[in-house]
Amino acid sequence: MATHFQIERRDEGELRLLALDGYLDAHTAPSFENAIEEEMRSGKIRLVVECSKLTYISSAGLGVFMSFIEEIREAGGDIKLAGIPPKVYQVFEVLGFPALFDIVETTEAAAAKFAEGGRRED
């Protein structure tokens, strides 16, 4: 079953923006994983993942966030999540993501968070 999933990538000032669109599940997670890996290889470690068009996320999709976060943070970067629709946010919330990631309303807010300095690992 082919599910719709697209990633739009662009620079947003200092930051790299990855806008997710569609259905992030076990079938589409690898393409998301590749995207983050590419960004990291080209030295872009200040990432904002924009989720306003994300319609569904499965555990495989959530796993992608976790698999890179440590490495990115060690290198001084971060992944911040922006614009998560309420239904998808529920999934993040149930899993306890708010304790692990900065989750904000807009990309501007994400930029502001980056400006505050690296996330304190608490």
Binding site: A26, S67, G96, F97, A99
Partner: protein
């Protein structure tokens, strides 16, 4: 015993009842042929007749066969009042006797036992030159064979000299109907009758017309059968050999199946019929008995091999989902006297007896009360040992058996479109079953109706039993019809023998069912996995095989039954999705009477998830020796999961404890939620529903203090009537065909509706609701539910 185990005998009994009602009215044997002599009577009649001609065949090798003449049957239907045609049944009983010195006698009888012809073959005798026709002898013979009608005959040939002897002939010519004529001939040599016979001669003009009617249906049937059987055979052979590139264990499977078939074949020849070669329709007196036996058995071995090959070809491509239907067959090839084999054999035979009513039901429905069905050539009436012949069906029924043993697995493995697959199976199955017996030579539609009914019946049986039942079902089918035939023909002894054979098999199967070895379904499924030495497979296939091993191992990790907690009822279920997944539930007895409950879900699928699940289960069990400190347990498991390495795989867990409080009447439920779906809490008096959602992060994300700091323990005091439901996202995210999710709201509604029931009842309602909601959509995730209900005060 499962409900279906009762349904089959019940339907079987109904079928037998219907058969008993329809058979005497509609089978050709009861309606037209009406045989009235048994094998021993036929032999006696032949012996008496031969004695009149001075030949004693009492000690000779004899064989009795019967045949029916289609053309004559059609003519009889066309000219029902013709006295000549009415003197002949379309069925004839033939007694062959052979002396060791090469002399052979053949006697033909009508089904009532009236002599039709006699002939003696003896190469040594020849007509002597000086012989004269014996007028008185000729007249005597004419009367012997034509009885009261002898006055109608006029002499046509007088004392003609031939190779055999002196031949005379009489004819019954009738002016009212041209083209049908009765003819009697007698040949004498040395004052002895060597040949005498009464027959009807019909002109080609009349024969041709009736022949044409039948041919269309029969020729079509023959063509279809050749296409299906030849095509299926080639496909099976190809599949068998193609399978060799992947595994080898199907060779042994096929060989053992062939051995079982061969054993049945040898048993079926215990009556000695192999020695006479009689089942090939001729009696070769000059062939030594041992050569005839070898010929028969070699022929049988060839067919037994094809039966084995057919099963092996089906086995090698058998999809994992179909294995449960083959476990009895697997046990059979392993030589294990398992109950499952007894069950399938018994139910197969019983169902087969019932299914025997279907040709008559189909005929009655399509053709009405006047229909006549013709199932088997009448030869079976004169077998040496009527019951034994049924075992031969296990070997000769390779076509009908192959439908389920090979063609079904083949469609499952090859045709990916579900409807295409069903269509292919339905069309081929209907055509095959209709064409193999062809009970209605005149009506293609009625045959197809019978084929479709039979296929439906077999399918229902197969769904409730397995492939062994589909093998023996034809023994029951044939046995029931044979018994009915013997009973309507007044051959009580033969009827008893046949019914006794069926009954004996049934009793043996029932005994096996009751006292046989219990088998472990998982072990048998594992036995269907090729062993390492048997495989030569692609990595992908090896992985798939490993998955299914892991899946089974995993299912066994789940508790067999929930613990008994005074004052509470507890129920749990895990409905696995197709792949290896990672749902887990468990109960832990902590010291001091506290019970722990856990539902966990490992992200992702596959071997990785399975390993994590096993890990989690182990860590949970280890926790049971310590104090029921939920935070400490969860933190420890989290650390272990993080250390296991792979951050993409994580575990969510709902972990709760139930303990009695010293002071009050209630009990306290404490709960941590490591990223798992919030448990549902139903409060009894008011019926309000809430979801317990204390903070908590999934296990395996981070080993830092952030995990422990974000983990809250929720505490609720439970009163009688309160219900707690722990579940995995497989329940709330259960999707229907239009991609809607079951969701928390529907779950709440179900629990409110079912809250008065005990935990088992509530669990059942939840599962049913989810199942109904999902409909035909594929389950994409494991679904786990644990229900706890406080029924009364905890004591």
């Amino acid at each position: 015993m499962r409900a279906s185990s009762w349904a089959i005998p019940l339907l079987g009994a109904v079928g037998i009842g219907v058969l008993a009602w329809l058979y005497p009215r509609h089978d050709n044997l009861a309606v037209e042929w009406k045989p009235r002599i048994s094998r021993s009577e036929a032999k006696e009649k032949a012996r008496d007749l031969a004695r009149v001609y001075g030949v004693d065949i009492a000690e000779w090798t004899t064989a009795v066969t019967a045949s029916s003449d289609e053309t004559r049957a059609a003519l009889r239907r066309q000219f029902p009042n013709d006295p000549v045609l009415m003197s002949f049944n379309s069925m004839e009983v033939k007694v062959l006797a052979a002396a060791p010195d090469g002399v052979q006698v053949q006697v033909k009888l009508t089904p009532e036992g009236r002599a039709l012809s006699y002939s003696r073959q003896d190469r040594r005798t020849a007509a002597r030159r000086d012989e004269q026709e014996d007028e008185r002898l000729g007249q005597r013979e004419l009367e012997r064979y034509t009885g009261a009608e002898s006055g109608q005959f006029r002499k046509a040939t007088s004392g003609a000299r031939t190779q055999e002897g002196i031949r005379s002939a009489w004819e019954w010519v009738r002016t009212e109907r041209q083209g049908i004529l009765g003819r009697f001939e007698v040949v004498t040599s040395g004052g002895q009758v060597v040949r005498a016979g009464y027959d009807a001669e019909v002109s080609e003009r009349l024969v041709g017309r009736s022949r044409a009617q039948k041919q269309d249906v029969q020729v079509t049937a023959v063509v279809v059968m050749v296409v299906i059987l030849l095509g299926g055979g080639i496909l099976a052979i190809w599949t068998f050999f193609a399978g060799l590139t992947r595994r080898k264990d199907h060779i042994r499977f096929g060989a053992r199946t062939a051995a079982a078939a061969a054993a049945a074949l040898v048993l079926s020849h215990l009556d000695g019929s192999a020695m006479s070669g009689a089942q090939f329709g001729q009696l070769a007196a000059e062939t030594p008995w041992w050569l005839a036996a070898i010929q028969t058995l070699l022929m049988g071995a060839l067919i037994a091999t094809s039966t084995g090959g057919m099963f092996a070809a089906g086995y090698v491509i058998l999809p994992a989902g179909e294995r449960a239907r083959w476990s009895a067959m697997r046990l059979l090839t392993l030589g294990r006297p398992a109950r499952a084999i007894g069950r399938e054999v018994l139910l197969g035979i019983v169902a087969g007896c019932g299914l025997a009513a279907l040709p008559y039901v189909a005929g009655r429905l399509a053709l009405g009360p006047g229909m006549v069905a013709e199932l088997y050539s009448p030869s079976f009436l004169f077998q040496r040992a009527p019951g034994l012949e049924l075992l031969r069906v296990l070997v000769t029924g390779v076509g009908s058996t192959g439908l389920f043993a090979f063609f079904l697995p083949w469609t499952l493995a090859t045709i990916t479109n579900r409807w295409g697959r069903r269509l292919a199976f339905a069309v081929t199955g209907t055509a095959l079953l209709a064409g193999l017996l062809l009970p209605f030579p005149n009506s293609a539609g009625t045959n197809l109706l019978y084929g479709a009914l039979m296929l439906a019946g077999c399918w229902m049986l197969y769904q409730r039993t397995g492939v062994v039942a589909m093998w023996v079902v034809w023994v029951g089918f044939r046995g029931a019809i044979h018994t009915a035939a013997f009973l309507t023909s007044g051959m009580a002894a033969e009827a008893w023998q046949t019914a006794g054979m069926l009954g004996g098999l049934g009793v043996a199967a029932a005994a096996l069912w009751a006292f046989g070895v219990r088998h472990d379904e998982a072990e048998v499924a594992a036995a269907m996995e090729p062993q390492e030495r048997d495989i030569a497979r692609s990595d992908r296939e090896r992985l798939l095989a490993e998955f299914s091993v892991a899946r089974r191992a995993q299912e066994r990790l789940l508790p067999e039954s929930p613990p008994r907690i005074p004052g509470c009822s507890l129920a749990a279920a895990c409905v696995p999705a197709r792949e290896v997944g990672g749902d887990l539930y468990d109960f832990v007895a902590f010291p001091g009477g506290t019970w722990g409950f856990c539902v966990a879900d490992v992200s992702g699928k596959g071997v990785q998830a399975a390993l994590y699940m096993t890990l989690t289960k182990g860590m949970l069990s280890a926790a049971s020796h310590r104090a029921p400190d939920l935070k400490a347990i969860a933190t420890r498991i989290n650390r272990n999961v993080v250390e296991a390495g792979h951050k993409r795989t994580f575990v969510t867990m709902s972990l709760g404890t139930l303990s009695m409080e010293q002071d009050g009447d209630g009990c306290v439920f404490r709960h941590v939620r490591a990223g798992h779906n919030p448990p549902l809490l139903y409060r009894a008096p008011g019926g309000e529903v809430s979801y317990l959602q204390p903070r908590g992060i999934g296990l395996g994300f981070t080993a830092g203090p952030v995990f422990e700091r974000n983990l809250d323990v929720a505490e609720v005091r439970l009163k009688p009537g309160d219900v707690l439901v722990l579940y995995s996202d497989g329940l709330t995210e259960c999707m229907n065909a239009s991609k809607e999710q079951f969701g928390e709201e529907r779950l709440s509604e179900v629990v409110v509706r079912a809250a008065a029931k005990d935990a088992e009842g509530i669990k059942a309602e939840i599962l049913t609701a989810a199942q109904e909601f999902r409909g035909a959509a594929d389950p994409h995730d494991d679904l786990t539910v644990v229900v706890l209900r406080v029924d009364g005060p905890m004591t």
